[in-house]
Symmetry: C2
Subunit: 221 residues, 2 copies
DNA sequence: ATATTTTTTTAGTCTTGTCTAAATTTTATT
DNA sequence: AATAAAATTTAGACAAGACTAAAAAAATAT
């Protein structure tokens, strides 16, 4: 049996590992989980004992195959619950995290697979992150700058390049944030400005703006 | 902050209190929660400290107003989740309990109120038990024997009077259990036998059978 | 009314997950 | 290469929630 704390550690290690590439440090984990390094060390010993991570003293950790599977399963649950909250219960994308953080620990295979079906097997959560499938496969979609997007495809905003307050104010004014869907309607050859459908309204953006917004393509299912 | 264990104790005390009427004994709680009496005593001290119960050594416990509200809120969550699992995720009424037991501890007012709305404010869970409203009000519907039921109303089976294995076998054969919906189509004046619609099929039951099945009327909302 | 049984509480221990303070190893600096 | 700084681990302690064994109170039986 795997405890709630253990699940949180595995999830955190997974995220750090995929960001950093190499072994994850004790301090990095401590910071994410908001705990002390000594507590992390204790937990790492436990996880290593259970063969969920490979842990070399002073050298950091990596997930084993089993640990990775467990972590991905938690992430799958988290993201499916986020879709449920936004699509069915009128949560906005910035309200879902804390609740999904609790729901992701509910143990029931049937529950999560039925939820998946009920939501029509969504490929991405409200923030644009991909949802692992039943077997832990993740459909990785590289993020691109909006200016590179193709006409008639739909994207999800996943971040910004320019984070000056002027730019953020612009985004705010047009109600664009992480998770906002952007449909590319047209692209002007002359100045590369784009006609986009955002929040059910059409608008035009110049290249200086589309160059500063990261998006992920929607994967058709 | 109220812990998961504390919530389970409150819920258990609530159920025992409403069944027994008077103060709830340490042993009764221990049996329900499947723990030792000494562990219960420890917890009772904690709950009394938090003003959730009134506890007199050797004399048993009762919930305070605050404790009752907390317990009812947990029961509300439990029953709403049960409805969700059965109505939306294809769970059968006997599969829901363990999962609902986990889901009832998720903390988010918005979550549970939105879920309530999403499910169209159900008045009863799949077992026929009433769902407390947002303010903790419970619509108590007295159970009656099926033989007393009215024509053209729908009921939910909530229990049996005769629990001999012959009788249970009869119920099993016709797929009748706790939670099964029973619609009264007709009642014969002569022998009091009833024509019922159960599991989408019509059938006739003699008074010796309808006299031994407890049902609750469905409340119109 | 007293003795016996049952129920409940107390005392002390254990596990999980956390902490602080001190010790050790690694990394960075001169 | 030696030393200072940073990162990590160890040692010892604590709170929550559980347990066992023993003591105390209440209920029951004689």
């Amino acid at each position: 049996m795997i405890t709630l704390s253990e699940e949180n550690y595995l999830k955190t290690i997974y995220h750090l590992e995929s960001r950093e590439g190499n072994a994850v440090s004790t301090n990095a984990i401590a910071e994410k989980i908001e705990t002390k390094a000594s507590s992390v060390t204790d937990m790492l010993k436990k996880l290593a004992e259970k063969n969920l991570i490979t842990y070399i003293k002073y050298k950091g950790v990596n997930l084993t195959k089993e640990g990775k599977l467990t972590a991905v399963d938690i992430i799958r649950k988290h993201r499916l619950w986020e879709v449920f909250l936004v699509d069915k219960l009128n949560f906005s994308w910035d309200e879902v995290h804390d609740v999904a953080e609790q729901l992701e620990h509910i143990k029931s295979q049937k529950l999560i697979n039925e939820l998946d079906a009920f939501l029509k097997f969504p490929s991405h959560d409200p923030h644009g992150d991909p949802i692992p499938d039943k077997n832990g496969q993740i459909q990785r979609t590289a993020k691109i700058v909006l200016s590179m997007a193709q006409i008639d495809k739909t994207y999800t905003c996943v971040g910004v390049l320019d984070s000056s307050s002027e730019f953020l104010k612009y985004l705010d004014k047009h109600k664009i944030g992480i998770g906002t869907e952007i449909e590319v309607k047209d692209k002007e050859e002359f100045d590369q400005s784009m006609t986009l459908k955002i929040n059910k309204k059409e608008m035009v953006m110049s290249k200086s703006i589309t160059n500063n917004i990261y998006v992920k393509a929607h994967n058709e299912h």
